[in-house]
Amino acid sequence: MITCPRPLVLALTGCSLTVGIGISVYATSVLAQEERADAALNQLVHEPPTMEDLESADIHPELKKVIRYGHDLFTNTQQLRGENVFNDMNCSSCHLGEGRVPFSAPVWTAAITLPDFRGKNQHVNNLEERIAGCFAYSMNGVPPEYGSDEMLALSAYHQWLATGAPMYPDKPIYGRGFPAPEEPTEDPSYARGETAYQENCSICHQENGAGHYENDEYVFPPPWGDGSNNWGAGIARLETMAGFIYQNMPLGQPRSLSDQQAWDIAYYITSQERPQDPRYTGDVAETAERFHGRSLYGQTREHDGHVLGDHDNFGEKGDIKPWNVGMPRFENLSEE
């Protein structure tokens, strides 16, 4: 598996290529070794520190406390339920392995690439604003205030994970996001997706996609329905969902599904209902036109004629509007 002692960061030095997370992920395939070696030639390969590394790190004990709190918020975001979180998820429900794992949208990447322009809200975002985005959409919530203890702790955790990685890297980042599998040979099919979901996923996420809490404690998050992310979330896009599934599911068996299966299941899941997009204008067609180029939002489901997103169910948060959505920035610069 891991064949050499792991230095905290191998990003810059290009040190030993046998190092890094993700490799052993694909230990079953010989390709894994080659993939990483190839990647390190022209991509930034960074291995974020672990919570064990934090204990031995030479940083101020107060900073350690805050980073620990950030990690705790990231992996148990349900502690903010009813205040900032209005669905059944943690940040780590999608950013697996505490936000460190390649191909599971590792989050330290944001700390070294922001501030930057973001197409989703059409202005320059910093790390806090990026985190706030996942609160408003992925957590169907309302972000903690900028500069609040929670926001500071979360961003401290993100930034610390990036320890040693270069700011504004000049190479693409290995394992960033949820890269989609190859285009499927056949168009994604709802019926095939349904069958494959029930065979491979329902044992944990349930037949109805509601996920599973055991004695009121989080175990399996819901891929759709009221307890899931809302329509505005990145993972509601077909391509992102296909990437997430292919790279990460079933839990513990990444890249075990075929490309076709991943697309079919993604099509099935993204054809289900979830809480309304907080950017909803009151009109599904208009909202689709303005914000939903890459999701099935606003489209008519073939088998039952249902128009996806045509409802005003915002989930548990009701009519609370996340303060960051549509918040104008840099208006004084917009003249230029």
Partner: protein
């Protein structure tokens, strides 16, 4: 739950969390107690089993999920789970008796796990890490992401492992690693065990043996 749907796609209903209860045979605890007479030599009258260091440990059955117990007995009978000792005893039970003993053991109060006393602090810390956070550098998903918070089990698919004997946890993980146990649905357990080192297995076995198996036990300790 939509049963017509399930049968349409030809699913094995028994493997999903909510569906299994619906199809399981109704067990009777009194009959179960009688049928369990032949089991107590190893699993003990109170279902506590026994940790047998360097030998074949007898798992605690008390407090395990009834459908999980029944599944294991069917698996032993059908040879899907391979163990000479248990094949003999499982073969003595018919389907009704399996449901009965499962019901009986599931309602016995869980007892404390044994073993793992030789583990030092470093090993226990590693065990706790694997249990609660996993080791994603080796793609070992935390045990609790499937076995639930505290390792107390989730539905009838993911058995409680907290408070199980260290020797038994150890043999099972090693069996999955060596592919001599493979009756888990979708290879969910096998995929994880194969990535664990022998030290990892020892660490997590010792740690779980020392954890309370149920909430009641936690409050009385």
């Amino acid at each position: 739950m939509n049963n017509t749907y399930v049968s349409r796609v030809g699913l094995c209903v028994g493997i999903t969390l909510i569906a299994a209860g619906a199809v399981a045979q109704e067990g009777n605890m009194e009959r179960g107690q009688a049928a369990a007479a032949s089991c107590s030599a190893c699993h003990q009258a109170d279902g506590s089993g026994m940790n047998v260091p360097d030998g074949e440990s007898w798992p605690r059955l008390a407090g395990l999920d009834a459908d999980y117990i029944a599944k294991q007995l069917h698996d032993f009978k059908a040879g899907r789970r391979d163990n000479a000792t248990m094949a003999t005893f499982a073969n003595m039970l018919n389907d009704q008796q399996i449901a009965d003993v499962a019901a009986y053991y599931s309602q016995l109060p869980a007892t404390q796990g044994q073993g793992g006393d030789e583990a030092n602090e470093t090993l226990l810390a590693r065990g706790q890490q694997l249990a609660e956070r996993g080791d994603w550098n080796a793609y070992i998903v935390s045990c609790q992401s499937c076995h639930g918070p505290g390792g107390k089990g989730v539905g009838d698919t993911f058995p409680g492992i907290a408070g199980q004997h260290a020797g038994y946890i150890h043999t099972q993980l090693t069996a999955w690693k060596n592919e001599t146990r493979s009756n888990d649905p979708q290879n969910l357990m096998g995929a994880i065990a194969k990535r664990m080192s022998d030290d990892d297995i020892q660490a997590v076995s010792a740690w779980y043996a020392k954890q309370p198996a149920s909430a009641d036990q936690e409050s009385t300790q």
